[in-house]
């Protein structure tokens, strides 16, 4: 029995050794993706190019506008003198935002009335727009608070000293600088592993079906579970190596901390790999050509990324979508990854995720073994 499984494993690695393209595919794209995600996938908005229109030309308006460049979040790319320029600018250039101060801004402020700062944004990239508007809000609030305090100080210093203030002091645990790379790198490890393992496994089996060697193997005395193990163990090993590779690159390059117990992470990785191998296996039993496997893989992987909490928080999804995420192995693995990397939590907290992955693996295995028997008929 072990002889036959061993025989399958040796064969798989012999083929891998010969296949230059496969080796390339195992090493280069994961690292590349890690770097791309690490640099590009960020929620922060920095150095947004803005245009400004100051029709008030007052001390106050200049003070407010200067605060925008001061933070480093914005850069004044253009100073406009009339509205017509604005129209053509927002639609056609790299400047997604403009600030406008009407004449009489300072006048209103001095009278103690509400003055307006108008923000014009290009809403086509709603994510950036939203985040940038958030920053504008913060800056404007700070300005009006400071202005109010200064005025009070001038007019009634005694009273000013007694006005209470709430200042927001952000203390994000686990990721004190709210560094998006810290959030993304563990996620990238999960998604890359998922993609590699599912496609490799499915393709390897379907290829044998296509060239006919699967049939040739099936007439030997090999048992179905030996065949399945012989076909999945190599990709388990490969998947494990890929996780380590991507994790090492991610942590060394992006300086993401690893605070947890490596053994807990290892357990999570093993369970996750087993569930993804089984997804690949299931896809392979449902396809008779590599083309079909590709399409099925695509149909699985796309929602698996979207509905994992990798980028979009699961708690903000509609209830029905949330239900679907429970069947997604990546969902659990991401919690394990972020938990072990950033929070340093152990099995005491992560056991539900581990259990879920184990259950998912068993269900998928049963399904694919059942299909595997039938698939030849």
């Amino acid at each position: 029995m072990f002889d036959r499984i061993w025989c399958m494993i040796v064969k798989e690695f012999l083929q891998l050794r010969r296949d230059k393209y496969a080796r390339f595919r195992l090493i280069v794209p994961p690292i590349l993706q890690m770097l791309i995600y690490g640099y590009a996938a960020t929620f922060e908005v920095n150095r947004v190019q803005i245009a400004v229109m100051d029709f008030d030309h007052s001390q106050e308006s200049r003070d407010l506008l200067s605060r925008f460049t001061f933070t480093g979040r914005f850069e004044v790319a253009k100073v406009l003198s009339n509205e017509h320029e604005l129209k053509s600018l927002i639609g056609s250039s790299d400047i997604p935002m403009a600030l406008k101060i009407e004449p009489g801004f300072a006048e209103l402020l001095r009278k103690g009335q509400t003055a307006h700062l108008q923000v014009i944004v290009d809403g086509t990239n709603s994510n950036t727009a939203l985040i940038a508007v958030g920053y504008v809000n913060q800056i404007a609030n700070q300005f009006s608070q400071d202005y109010a305090r200064d005025r009070l100080n001038q007019m009634m210093p005694a009273l000013a000293a007694t006005v209470p203030q709430i200042s927001l002091e952000q203390r994000p645990w686990y990721n004190p600088d709210l560094n998006s790379q810290w959030f993304f790198v563990p996620g990238v490890i999960g998604s890359i592993t998922l993609m590699m393992v599912v496609t490799l496994t499915a393709f390897a089996i379907v290829r044998e079906r296509e060239i006919g060697t699967l049939e040739q193997i099936m007439v030997t005395p090999i048992r179905p579970f030996e065949l399945i193990l012989g076909k999945t163990i190599p990709f388990f090993v490969v998947g494990l190596a890929d996780v380590v590779l991507v994790a090492v690159v991610g942590t060394l390059w992006f300086q993401v901390p690893f605070r947890g117990n490596p053994l807990v992470l290892l357990l999570g990785v093993v369970l996750f790999l087993m569930s993804t191998l089984n997804v690949g296996l299931l896809i392979s039993t449902l396809s008779s050509t590599q083309q079909q496997a590709f399409v099925l893989g695509f149909f699985f992987l796309n929602p698996a990324f979207t509905l994992s909490g990798f980028a979009f928080p699961i708690t903000s999804m509609p209830k029905a979508m949330q239900m679907i995420t429970y069947a997604n192995p990546l969902r659990y693995f991401l919690v394990i990854l972020r938990g072990t990397f950033l929070k340093g939590v152990g099995l005491g907290i992560l056991w539900p995720q581990m259990l879920a992955l184990a259950l998912l693996t068993s269900v998928l295995l049963l399904a694919s073994v059942a299909r595997f028997h039938k698939s030849i008929d």
Binding site: R4, Q15, R18, I211, G212, Q216, V219, T220
Partner: protein, 317 residues
């Protein structure tokens, strides 16, 4: 050769949905016999073999291979059979010897037997000196013999060959049949499918199969004699199509069909067609070039049994 049946097939049926690919097929094959399934593409040959290997479950009927039921004892069956599928698939990215080692491992051939059998397979396939070449670089004939080697490493008692010579050059094909005959002499039972008529002549016994049914069974000679009821003539004429249409109306003609550039015509025995037919055809504006009696081939037998000419007439020399 002895008389113990090695393969017994009884009323075997395979349906794919509403389509019946194999319909009530029964035959017995003795140990050491070379039994051929001859039929056009899509007639159900591969489906029969795949049921006998335990790759497909029969819809009804039963079959035993070396005494084991193919549906219920597939694992026992597999220990005793060798199978070369229609695509005779090997790993092109493994060397010849790695392919042999892989299949030996799956069949549980170990130790001394392993070295011995691999050495034998290499010698048999004529690969000595080329064992380290990638299989993908081997020619069709070598690949085919290597695939045969992989299929018989464990000394099976029964060998299933599904169109083993498809796409292989004529010389390799003859060498291959030499090997088959040698194995048969050593007592291996061989079930082979083909749609090449000349190859069918190499079999001890044949079943002609059409649309999932066996239409005739026997030795090649028996089949040819019983199937063609009358005298067979070869007629070269022009136009060929007009000649075919006309001759079907001629007195005494039982059947006629196109074979290559000529007609094969069956006439009832006891007439004198060599003088009668040219005269008849001349009356229909058909010029006769050559007309002579010939002995029926398996293809003639097949045509007269099924009324179709679906078999490949590609002449494998």
């Amino acid at each position: 050769m002895n008389d113990v049946p090695s393969i017994v097939v009884d009323q075997l049926v395979k349906r794919f949905g509403a389509f019946t690919a194999v319909n009530q097929v029964s035959f017995e094959i003795r140990s050491g016999e070379i039994f051929g399934l001859l039929g056009p593409n899509g007639s159900g040959k591969s489906t029969i073999i795949r049921m006998l290997c335990g790759l497909l479950t029969p819809s009804s009927g039963s079959a035993t291979v070396v005494g084991f039921d193919v549906a219920r004892q597939a694992e026992d069956v597999r220990r005793h059979i060798g199978y070369m599928s229609q695509k005779f698939s090997l790993y092109n990215d493994l060397t010849a010897i790695e392919n042999l080692q892989f299949f030996a491992g799956l069949y549980g051939v170990k130790g001394r037997a392993l070295d011995e059998r691999i050495a034998w397979a290499i010698k048999m396939s004529g690969l000595a000196g080329s064992e380290q070449l990638l299989t993908g670089e081997l020619s069709g004939g070598w690949k085919q013999r290597l695939a045969l080697g992989c299929a018989v490493l464990h000394r099976p008692r029964v060998l299933f060959l599904d169109e083993p010579t498809a796409g292989v050059d004529p010389l390799s094909r003859r060498q291959f049949w030499e090997l088959i005959h040698q194995m048969s002499r050593e007592g291996v039972t061989i079930l082979v499918t083909t749609h090449y008529m000349d190859e069918a002549e190499y079999c001890n016994r044949l079943a002609l199969i059409d649309e999932g049914r066996i239409v005739e069974m026997g030795t090649p000679t028996e089949i040819k004699q019983t199937a063609v009821k009358g005298d067979l003539l070869l007629i070269e004429c022009s136009p060929l199509g007009g000649g075919l249409a006309a001759i079907k109306q001629a007195p005494g003609v039982i059947d006629a069909s196109v074979f290559g550039a000529a007609l094969h015509v069956v006439v009832s025995a006891g007439r004198d067609p060599v003088t009668e037919l040219p005269a008849f055809l001349a009356g229909h504006d058909v010029r006769v070039g050559r007309i002579e009696p010939i002995s029926p081939s398996l293809e003639d037998a097949f045509v007269s049994l099924t009324g179709s000419r679906a078999l490949s007439s590609e002449p494998p020399q």
